[in-house]
Symmetry: C2
Subunit: 231 residues, 2 copies
């Protein structure tokens, strides 16, 4: 039993309401139950805190938070598919082509000018409703092959499972702006309506940037969730 497995086990128990009084067992009890040291327990707990599932109070215990099943979780693993496990996610490819990196793309990917870059635009649906437009760029030196077929599904699963790459972290910039006519049409909104934009720069575990994207979310359907540590 390692901390990753333990995280998954406790998370499952929380989601199935298997703990009473919205409270987790004490660290000592978890150590006994799973035969691991305190380091391991606390590591698992830390993951759950970062995912916004629980909070800790020194001297008192660990408490389960109320579920937020209407939000995209910003700072943890979950993509759209994981954040809304009960909803159907579909993706329609609007455009997919390869382009050599100009100055701007080279800077964005910290790569050499001329490096081939996949440019992909997708319209993504949640339970049949247009949810977001994704303008995405992939470094072809790292992601050697992309197709319409792959892009209709989960690209990240393809990268992890089929290409065997390990994804590390993403820098995210969130902002708000007016949307244009074309975007409004795609999202069933009006021109100059608000749009929620997230710019991601995504790194592999080895520190290289493989993906950059701008995602425009339908403001009527989207809430983001995050936990700030203020200690």
């Amino acid at each position: 039993m390692n901390s990753k497995q333990l995280t998954a086990i406790i998370k499952e128990k929380i989601l199935n309401n298997e703990y009473e009084h919205m409270k987790l067992p004490t660290e000592d009890m978890l150590m006994d139950e799973y035969g691991v040291t305190r380091y391991c327990v606390r590591k698992a707990i830390q993951n759950l805190v970062n995912h916004g599932l629980i909070y800790q109070v020194q001297g008192s215990g660990m408490y389960i938070k109320e579920k937020r099943d209407d939000c995209l979780i910003l700072s943890s693993t979950e993509g759209i598919v994981m954040s809304f496990p009960n909803k159907k996610v579909e993706s329609k490819v609007l455009n997919l082509h390869i382009q050599e990196a100009d100055d701007e793309l080279a800077k964005e990917f910290k790569c050499e000018k001329g490096t081939p870059i996949y440019k992909l635009t997708r319209l993504r649906y949640l339970d049949g409703e247009p949810f977001c437009i994704e303008y995405s760029r992939y470094n072809k030196k790292i992601i050697p092959y992309l197709s319409n077929e792959i892009a209709e599904g989960s690209i990240y699963e393809y990268i992890r499972n089929d290409l065997g790459l390990s994804i590390g972290f993403a820098d995210k910039i969130i902002l708000c702006d007016k949307i244009n006519h074309e975007q409004a049409e795609l999202l069933n909104l009006e021109e100059n309506d608000p749009g929620l934009f997230i710019n991601d720069t995504v790194y592999l575990s080895n520190g290289t940037i493989f993906n950059a994207s701008t995602v425009l979310y339908n403001y009527k359907l989207t809430k983001l969730f995050d936990v700030a540590n203020l200690k």
Copy 2:
């Protein structure tokens, strides 16, 4: 030397460009330099990663990220004042009164109906420009006294330093919507322009909710920054 102090020292050195090649010393070197164990070093490093200042690559080292001095940092300590150290922050109190908690407020604060709640509206300026409108609520059972004078300054410093309370964490919900006529006037924008809204629920370290707020940011002036861990 504890991990908190170490965090501050390394952070200062990063901001002053005292490390070469955008790279931190190895963990072993930091252990030697500051006479602490690896736990302590890694704890400090973890804080810096969470603040979005550095990233780690196993087998390679710890790298300093490019500065983002135009963003509000979502998931760490910084308020407006800390995020923009070079800019002047001013606050104008638009309204301050006490109200007994109705069902909605009681639910929001997980307190009893009838509990006195401070309701505060502030317009906040950044270098003289109207930056956000803050609609804030404080549980008077926990924050017994608020005044216009206090609200013109930093309320959180007052709570920490003068009331001696320890702030724990905040749940944040981010969304985007059209702003109304009154809000547009205050922010020098147009009615139905986009607005970036953040709803905060803020907890003390002991787990009680002392503050809830809705902040409307000027979409032309505001970007948020966050780091997502995808491992």
